[in-house]
Amino acid sequence: MTTLDNLAPPAPAAPATARADAPIRRELGVVNVLSHGFLLFWGAVTVLPLLWMVISSFKSNAEILADPWGLPGALRFDNWARAWTGAHIGQYFLNSLVVVTGSVTLTMLTGATAAYVFARYEFRGRQLLYYLFVGGLMFPVFLALVPLFFVVRNAGLFNTWTGLILVYAAYSLPFTVFFLTAFFRTLPTSVAEAALVDGCGHFRLFFQVMLPMARPGMISLGIFNFLNHWNQFLLPQVLMQGDESKWVLAQGLAALSVDQGYAGDYAQLFAGLTIAVVPVLLVYVAFQRQVQSGLTAGQLK
């Protein structure tokens, strides 16, 4: 990103520029101090709430109430244990993992196959179908909420993970198809032609030649969809209302927050939130370049 680093300093061509130099340098100095000030400030604003959450997850409830800014007297991992088992955060975590694994796989599979056909094959109704998918980008999910509830219920998928998986995938298709169609179009046609000439079938061509070539796009979009599905709240809240044992993490955390309001177990809430944040943080730090490009790719297209 700091590609401008290696910039050669412009040659001090004429003595006339020397006079103009001083104000520029002064301006730069001020800008530099100011910019670090602002940058540090926003960094603190971003980090402080999160840091506070982690620290509070180790404190006792008495400590939290007495001094919100204080440090814990000891590392109380029993808060974490209470959140993990008592508030079933562990269970919800695994539920989310199951649902999201299923939904991302389904999204990528159906999205990639559809996109590939749209990008590479001519057939009647192609335009129409393509715009049917992409048109979905304009509709807010709120509009579909009431009928969707009944579609899912009538299909016998209410309160099931299968229902969530199918719905997540269906609502991710517009963007996935849009993005991957554009991506498949950028791949060179010569490779595919050569493979076909060599007697490669259409199916083998896709799975063994085109899909591997589309890896960068698939990874970006996989990350994008993963985070989207992992963070879903509205859809599970409507489609997974009853059975608490099948809730996803977002629902479990929301319920934990409500309970905490009555029980006053703040430490447990902070521990629950921290448990939910830590894996995301680890994945983010490990793959931040991919995550950032995956999430921004959609907009920069």
């Binding site: 971003t46 506070w52 269906a170």
Partner: protein, 302 residues
């Protein structure tokens, strides 16, 4: 070719199309139809009532109140987020001092970028719940900090005068980092010769930002605007979890209104679908408007 392309087209298209039509297209179409009925509940009959729901909406003060809040969000969230995003991205990409008039990033810009972006990968649920605690009137981070320096703090989310602004602040907090990275990437793709030339001509940083960077980034800014506008029309999760529209409906937004109408204390499905239809047309017109108003001559520099 061993076999034709049609087996592949069929196998590849049928599952996604089926999935999409059943769970996306059909609900959307049904929503328009349901919005013209008086459907009240799980088994009650749905009678066609024409546009009665929409007429009722027009006179529904709660809906207007929610829409007013969305309008304020729409006016402020995109502007503030984009300004902050551009500001920090500029600082990170060109705030440095290396070289005489060279354009470099500040030291540690990669670290800043990593930190700023992080809220974007967090679930909105976590952000909402965390900030609800930050705003807590007795044990929250903010109140105790203000008390420590001898200031009396408001009750934040408990006070109708402050609650809305508290939610708005969280919206900006959670979005800025994303746009810092987005704008930063766009800035990095601007050829450095342009900046060299501008610097040689003696332009100040502010002029450079205003006259060179922003015009070159205009496409990106415009897309950001559309996304943020759509975001501002939603705000459902944050509001529902932080305040659920309280106190006294001061933080209510249209999404929460719709959810409560359909799945809250009452199950007015017809009426809720009408709200959904309104949301659809609002989102659509805001997106179209943002794209129209932002129209400028494209600047190519490749």
């Amino acid at each position: 070719m061993k076999h034709g392309k049609y087996p592949l087209i069929a196998t590849f298209l049928v599952p996604p199309v089926l999935l999409y039509v059943v769970f996306v297209v059909s609900p959307y179409l049904q929503a328009f139809q349901i919005s013209t009925t008086d459907w009240l509940g799980y088994s009650a009959e749905a009678n066609p009532v024409g546009l009665a729901n929409f007429k009722a909406l027009w006179h529904d003060d709660y809906v207007w109140n929610a829409l007013k809040n969305n309008a304020i969000l729409l006016a402020l969230v995109p502007v503030l987020t984009i300004v902050l995003g551009l500001f920090f991205a500029t600082m990170l990409n060109m705030g440095g001092r290396k070289g005489r008039a060279g354009v470099t990033g500040v030291r540690g810009s990669a670290v800043y970028r990593t930190v700023y972006f992080f809220p974007q990968v967090l679930s909105v649920v976590i952000i909402a719940l965390l900030w609800k605690e930050v705003y807590h009137p007795s044990k929250g981070l903010l109140t105790s900090a203000m008390n420590a320096v001898g200031l009396s703090a408001p009750t934040w989310l408990g006070d109708p005068r402050t609650a809305f602004w508290c939610v708005l602040a969280v919206m900006i907090w959670s979005n800025v980092g994303f746009y810092v990275v987005l704008f930063g990437a766009a800035m990095a793709s601007v050829p450095k010769e342009i900046y060299e030339a501008v610097m040689l001509d003696g332009a100040s940083r502010l002029t450079t930002l205003w006259k060179v960077t922003i015009p070159l980034l205009w496409d990106t800014v415009q897309v950001a605007w559309v996304y943020l506008a759509i975001f501002a029309l939603d705000g459902f999760i944050l509001v529902q979890l932080m305040t659920n529209g309280a106190p006294n409906f001061s933080t209510d937004v249209i999404g929460v209104r719709m959810y409560d109408t359909a799945f809250g204390t009452e199950t007015k499905f017809g009426y809720a679908s009408a709200i959904g239809v309104v949301m659809f047309f609002l989102t659509l017109s805001v997106a179209v408007l943002a794209l129209r108003m932002g129209k400028r001559d494209r600047i190519e520099y490749s």
